[in-house]
């Protein structure tokens, strides 16, 4: 078993968890707990007796980013906490979680995986990714806990993701500056010592990231805010996962960042301030869960401050406190969840007599809370002793050290006081009515295990030496041998004295609790942290809206004005810069003049037309003229494409036209004038720009390359086609995807929105109104033409590589055949065009991708393979072209099917009318309206 396998196993557990939870429900907690316990065992087995274990798998070799994993002392400590506490929390969840278990276990197990990846990562980019994953996990876990959780979850995400941005800044700066992504190398880089400014900024960014994650002032608000999450989530978040990620980051960077004064300054001041503030807030709360939440804020403040001190002793204390805190805080939260479940409340004003109502669990709770208060002989006492001692011996000097230690003692007084509140207010008194204990056994076991572990860990603290000391050694770059072994009793010293002061002060606070409560029963700050975050959030959104207001308008013309003016300005500027080089040479060919005249006539007609049909015809004139332009410029392929597209455009436009009114609404005179001025200006600029920018330039080197090498490289003599399917096939593939998306979007639009208008039957009764007779010519023509056109389309596809043709043109030709079939049909319904257009488009894209994958055989995606078979040159470029064919064909089919077939909205109206005896209806109406009901079902099926 390797580290990589450990991580993979953890991910697999997350994948399996929902599958197990589906049939098992909440009881899947047993499975996940067993899995995490097994992973813990593997972790312990993997741990080398000394030194560290490293592995690496290339991930993004181009950027030198690898999946580097390292198991050293520090990683081991945190991984143990993540997996061990995780197993216990899962055990607890088995009884606690009742509904929506699959998602819960998926996220919790994935959370464990993300944390494991974070602490094992030896690549700074991998570490960052894992860091963000934990943010997302906690967001989702809070979000799904209740319908009201969206706001707190959102605030949590904003704060922690904001910290993630700070970390991203630090990571980027470090990678750029040190030139490696390997975390160990980054941390050992001399830049930390040699460039104080750089080191200071990066250290501040890292500290900022850790502060948001570990809920330090002023980012503490999210943690109590996140209390909407269920007890197991809170227990994991507070004890082992989310907030400990910040602590891990600080300890990991401790040695390197301690080189700059910024680091201890921020950490110690922020940490101590948060510790005291959190303790005071915890004293104010009557909701047990909130009390524990602020206790976490306070305890983490203490941890952050002692990491800031930076000595090996301080880091030893921090490492031990991480373990102690994980135990007593998970025990506390799980206890609160159990109480809430059985007593129906978690408010200490309503709880009483729990000692007699649930003696066993209460005893465990007392044990846990005593650890939190730091009473001997528990683990919490041992770690607090070390913290106070390390602070008193701060490298900043005796006076500063004493000040820090005293501030920490003040926070500890609060800790003792609020811990006592939990016990004193809820345990004594008349026993409460509780719900039966059945089904909560595993919850009680989990509470008991963590509490007892805290007690045993205190009495036999020396057992933790192999876990804690290497962690501190790795965090400070010292040898394990240089560290003092852990012990519960250090003799009478300053730390013990301060501890005694803390306990005494706390006891007095408990004794005088009525006064303390009165003194604190008010708002200490003019606003709360949650309100501050909420206000910052709404101010940001309002600011964005104000910026958006600058450009928000309902007039399309206003939106178009900006790009038009910018392009015009650019064109004029460029024209002015290149005055001397305008390409007027070459004379004026007569044909060109004729083409230009045709274009102008078409444009004028399109602009002047007052009917929709007229403007479509005018647009057609322009399109055909442009096709002639292409032909005269020596581009048969392009001209052919343009010609076919023009035909199909007109077909589709006519399909649309029958749903729209016949005439346009006239623009106001002012509107016409403004439009005219803009239009003439734009036209003039475009002319000048074209002359100035392009002129009669010589063949570009790229163009020459293609002309010279096309045949040699690809075996094709149609240079344009070789560019499309060979040289620049990836571009073409992208275009196919665009076509596919267009077909999908059309389908979605017509499925989701109601088409306007119907198929108005305006044809007056007369010789042309009978569709059967009316279409006789087209039908007679179509009969021989359609097969010919389809054959031609196939031929064009096959010969495309060497002569005008290719996938695009062939598909357009084929689609034109179908369009002819459609136009010749007696009615919409009769047109034999119901083909699965979306699958055809999709298969086209897949075929193109598949031919690209074949190219991998020759070393590169989309590189065509060549073979000569019986004297015929074959290439996979033809397969690619077939994909092009199918994709283009599918899109056009989609348009004709979606727009041309009788659609959802058509019919009730037509049916009514046909039924009314007074309305004189031409024959078409009867034939069009009668099958309307059938068509409805037919079109509903069509998009599939």
């Amino acid at each position: 078993m390797t580290l990589m396998m450990l991580l993979a196993a953890s991910a697999t557990l997350a994948a399996l968890a929902p599958a197990v939870a589906r049939p098992w429900g909440g009881r899947a907690g047993w499975f996940v707990a067993a899995g995490l316990a097994a992973l813990t065992a593997v972790l312990v087995a993997l741990r080398p007796t000394d030194g560290s274990l490293s592995e690496s798998v290339a991930w993004i070799p181009a950027a030198d980013i690898s999946l580097r994993l390292q198991l050293d002392g520090l990683s081991f400590l945190f991984a143990l906490v993540v997996l061990g506490v995780g197993a216990l929390v899962m055990l607890y969840s088995a009884a606690y979680v009742k509904e929506r278990a699959p998602g819960f276990y998926l996220l919790m197990a994935f959370f464990a995986f993300a944390m494991l990846a974070l602490v094992l990562a030896d690549d700074i980019v991998v570490m960052f990714v894992a860091w963000e994953l934990t943010t997302l996990c906690s967001y989702l876990l809070i979000l799904r806990s209740s319908p009201d959780a969206a706001a707190p979850a959102g605030r949590t995400l904003l704060v922690t993701a904001g910290g993630g941005l700070a970390l991203l800044g630090a990571v980027t700066a470090l990678v750029v500056r040190t030139g490696t992504t390997e975390l160990t190398a980054v941390l050992n880089d001399p830049v930390w010592r040699e460039e104080p400014l750089f080191a200071g900024i990066v250290a501040a960014l890292v500290a900022l990231a850790a502060m948001t994650k570990s809920a330090q002032f002023p980012f503490h608000a999210w943690l109590p805010d996140a209390m909407v999450a269920p007890a197991p989530v809170s227990a994991y978040l507070h004890a082992a996962a989310m907030v400990k990620a910040g602590i891990y980051l600080l300890m990991r960077f401790s040695e390197a960042a301690s080189a700059t004064w910024v680091w201890p300054t921020i950490l110690v001041t922020v940490g101590l301030g948060t510790a005291i503030m959190g303790a005071v807030f915890a004293l104010q709360r009557t909701d047990l869960k909130e009390l524990f939440a602020y206790s976490t804020v306070s305890q983490l403040g203490l941890l952050v401050a002692v990491i800031g001190v930076g000595t090996p002793e301080a880091l030893t204390a921090a490492a031990l406190h991480v373990v102690a805190h994980a135990l007593f805080k998970s025990s506390g939260f799980m206890y609160v969840g159990l109480v809430e479940k059985r007593a129906g409340t978690r408010d200490i004003r309503e709880l009483h007599g729990l000692a007699r109502a649930m003696p066993w669990t209460s005893a465990m709770a007392v044990l846990g809370v005593a650890g939190m208060a730091g009473l001997p002989p528990l683990l919490g006492f041992a770690s607090k002793e070390l913290i106070l001692d390390a602070m008193a011996h701060s490298p900043a000097g005796t006076a500063v050290g004493l000040g820090i230690a005293l501030a920490a003692t003040a926070a500890s007084v609060g800790t003792v006081a609020y811990s006592a509140r939990v016990v004193v207010r809820t345990l004594p008194g008349r026993p409460m009515e509780l719900k039966p204990a059945r089904g909560t056994v595993s919850m009680a076991v989990a509470v008991g295990t963590t509490a007892v572990a805290g007690a045993v860990g205190g009495l036999l603290v020396g057992l933790l030496d192999p876990v804690v000391l290497p962690a501190a050694a790795d965090a400070t770059g010292t040898a394990v041998g240089e560290l003092y072994p852990l012990s519960l009793w250090h003799g009478v010293n300053l730390a013990l004295l301060l501890s005694a002061v803390a306990v005494g002060g706390g006891a007095i606070a408990v004794w005088q609790r009525a006064r303390v409560d009165t003194a604190l029963d008010r708002r200490l700050f003019p606003f709360t942290g949650v309100a501050a975050v909420a206000r910052a959030q709404s101010a940001t959104i309002a600011g964005g809206r104000r910026v958006g207001d600058l450009t928000r308008t309902d007039l399309p013309a206003s939106h178009l004005a900006v790009p038009l003016v910018v392009i015009a300005g650019g064109g004029l500027l460029a024209a002015a810069l290149t005055t001397g080089r305008w390409g007027l040479g070459g004379g004026v060919a007569v044909a060109d003049v004729g083409l230009t005249v045709l274009v102008v006539v078409g444009v004028v007609a399109a602009v002047a037309s007052r009917t929709r049909l007229g403007s479509v015809i005018a647009a057609g004139i322009v399109g055909f003229t442009v096709a002639l332009w292409f032909y005269s410029l020596g581009a048969a392929d392009v001209a052919l494409t343009q010609l076919l597209v023009e035909i199909l455009t007109v077909v589709v436009m006519v399909l649309v036209l029958r749903r729209l009114p016949a005439t346009f609404r006239r623009r106001s005179a002012g509107g016409r004038l403004r439009g005219g001025i803009v239009a003439i200006g734009a036209g003039a600029v475009a002319t000048v720009g074209t002359l100035a920018l392009t002129g009669d330039r010589a063949l570009s080197s790229a163009g020459e390359f293609f002309l010279r090498l096309a045949e040699e490289e690809t075996g094709g003599t149609n240079v344009v086609n070789t560019i499309l399917v060979d040289f620049r096939a990836l571009d073409t593939l992208g275009e196919l995807v665009v076509l596919g998306v267009a077909a999908l979007a059309m389908t979605a639009l017509l499925t989701a929105r109601t088409p306007v208008g119907g198929t108005p039957d305006t044809a007056p009764p007369g010789p042309l109104s009978d569709p059967v007779l009316n279409t006789v010519f087209l039908r007679s023509l179509a009969r021989p033409l359609v097969p010919l056109m389809l054959l031609g389309s196939l031929y064009a596809l096959l010969r495309g590589h060497n002569a005008p043709g290719g996938g695009f043109i062939a598909a357009l030709l084929g689609a034109s055949a179908l369009a002819l079939l459609y136009l010749a049909a007696v009615s919409d319904r009769a047109a034999p065009l119901r083909l699965p257009y979306l699958p055809i488009t999709g298969v086209g894209i897949l075929v193109a991708v598949g031919s690209g994958v074949l190219g991998l055989a020759d070393g590169s995606f989309l590189r065509p393979l060549h073979a000569d078979l019986l004297g015929v040159h074959l290439t996979t470029a033809l397969v690619f072209d077939l994909g092009v064919y199918l994709a283009v064909f599918g899109v056009i089919l989609a348009a004709v099917n979606l727009l041309g077939m009788p659609s959802l909205d058509d019919p009730p109206r037509g049916g009514d009318r046909a039924g009314s005896p007074t309305a004189p209806r031409p024959t078409t109406a009867a034939s069009a309206s009668a099958p309307a009901e059938n068509d409805r079902s037919a079109t509903e099926e069509a998009p599939r």
Binding site: D554, A686, S700
Partner: protein
């Protein structure tokens, strides 16, 4: 010279049509604009060499640049797909903005949302309502 004039005429027509409120005219403007850009692409490859880039060993001195041709070829197809998409937009959602009131009066097209066809007197006001609501529809469509 003539090509540049063609581009200019196309751009002028496109600009005029795109500034209109009627969606179909905007679409036609878009089509014209596409033509203009395609011709511009051609002109960027030089327009004096006009022999087809076909056959073995083309002579670079007289053969047209194949690269802009390839660009334009795919651009035409893409522009076609987008045109069709916009046409679909034009006929979905609410009735087209500028339904002339006369037409609404003589041959009312009841809203799918209103099951009861309005009476003759109501019809006039109904048509007015629709045209009053019209600009909003346009904007939704063009934004989409």
């Amino acid at each position: 010279m003539m090509l540049a004039l063609s581009v200019g005429a196309l751009v002028a027509g496109a600009a005029y049509l795109m500034l209109d409120r009627t969606f179909l005219r905007v679409i036609i403007g878009f089509v014209l604009f596409g033509h203009a850009v395609n011709l511009l692409l051609f002109s960027s490859g030089g327009i004096l060499r006009r022999t087809e880039p076909l056959g073995s060993g083309p002579d670079p001195a007289v053969t047209a640049d194949a690269l802009p041709q390839a660009f334009v070829l795919t651009a035409i197809v893409i522009a076609f797909a987008i045109t069709v998409y916009m046409l679909v937009l034009a006929v979905t959602g609410r009735p087209d903005e500028d339904a002339p009131t006369e037409e609404a009066e003589e041959g009312p097209t009841p809203d799918p949302a209103e099951p009861d066809a309005p009476s003759d007197t109501d019809d006039r006001s109904g048509a007015d309502d629709r045209s009053g609501a019209a600009p909003r529809t346009t904007d939704q469509e063009s934004r989409a």
